[in-house]
Symmetry: C2
Subunit: 178 residues, 2 copies
């Protein structure tokens, strides 16, 4: 069973994007982004909600395209429509058996790409093992919370912090499952 | 003009307390609390909203008592009722002239004690200069957000990070006023 890792940029007030999915205030380059890109190479499967996948359309990604070519990408949605020829998989149900099967079949750690609501669902199911937060030196004030509207408060164990010159902090936590 | 410093414990998802003001999951002792206590000695004036002041009643504080004996304490409220003999001051209006006067008259940095809604109001007024966050290794999922319902997103400059053995991080930021 491979771990599920939520590797995400977050403002100091806990938002992963501003209103209307705005991520323009997060760093687009620099050491924190380079380290994140390096981590991505170690993830074998990407899982995400529909809105996160479709967010890529704004940047020219085509429907059915795989945003992470070296990973198997699975989009959780009951309504996403993709062309017949697609490089990604879709998954309608988000139950424990489905998630466990993805962990088992993955050839390495599973990258939870977002968004906040999907992450909150997985957190509530006890299906997030590691948090890797890129803590941005910004206040957003509004937008999508780190865990959507999930009110699940699991215990954490802090495992790593690294600072960057631009004020970013990398914070890693292990989620302690009951 | 002395700075206003918001020195507060916050969960990784951005809450300063859980539902019903619950702070039981934040550290009550250890190095992060000792360092916070040491910082408190350098603050000359404490400002807070009514709910934050009255929160002290749960721990045996009497109405009118000053929770920070070495500071001048000012509670912003239009409705708080205190006995005639009181060790704290109340302030009904929260306009810029009032806050500026407090900064000028203070004998040192002004400690913004909370809560989130009051902090959000001051943030929106451009009246917070420094954030000192005790980032707790906990998820709360619900409660009072760091800046209440304020949607003001000022720019920050990260100035300091310090880690603690128990997984807490001290994060300091300067608020860049436009």
């Amino acid at each position: 069973m491979h771990p599920i890792i939520y590797d995400v940029a977050v403002s100091i007030d806990g938002f992963i994007c501003g209103p209307d999915g705005d991520i323009s205030r997060f760093a687009q380059d620099g050491a924190v982004v380079e380290d994140y890109s390096a981590r991505l190479q170690n993830y074998a499967t990407a899982i995400m909600g529909r809105a996160t996948y479709e967010f890529g359309y704004r940047f020219g990604m085509q429907a059915g395209e795989n945003p992470y070519a070296h990973m198997k990408t699975i989009i959780f949605s009951s309504s996403l429509e993709l062309p017949d020829a697609t490089d990604v998989a879709t998954q309608k149900s988000c139950d424990a058996a489905t998630i466990d099967a993805i962990r088992r079949r993955s050839e390495g750690p599973v990258y939870l790409c977002g968004g906040g609501i999907f992450a909150g669902s997985l957190l509530a199911m006890g299906q997030i093992d590691i948090l890797r937060l890129k803590r941005a030196p910004i206040i957003l004030g509004d937008g999508v919370p780190l865990f959507g509207d999930s009110k699940t408060p699991p215990e954490l164990k802090h495992t790593e912090t690294q600072g960057y010159d631009d004020g970013y902090l990398f914070q890693e936590y292990r989620v302690l499952h009951a």
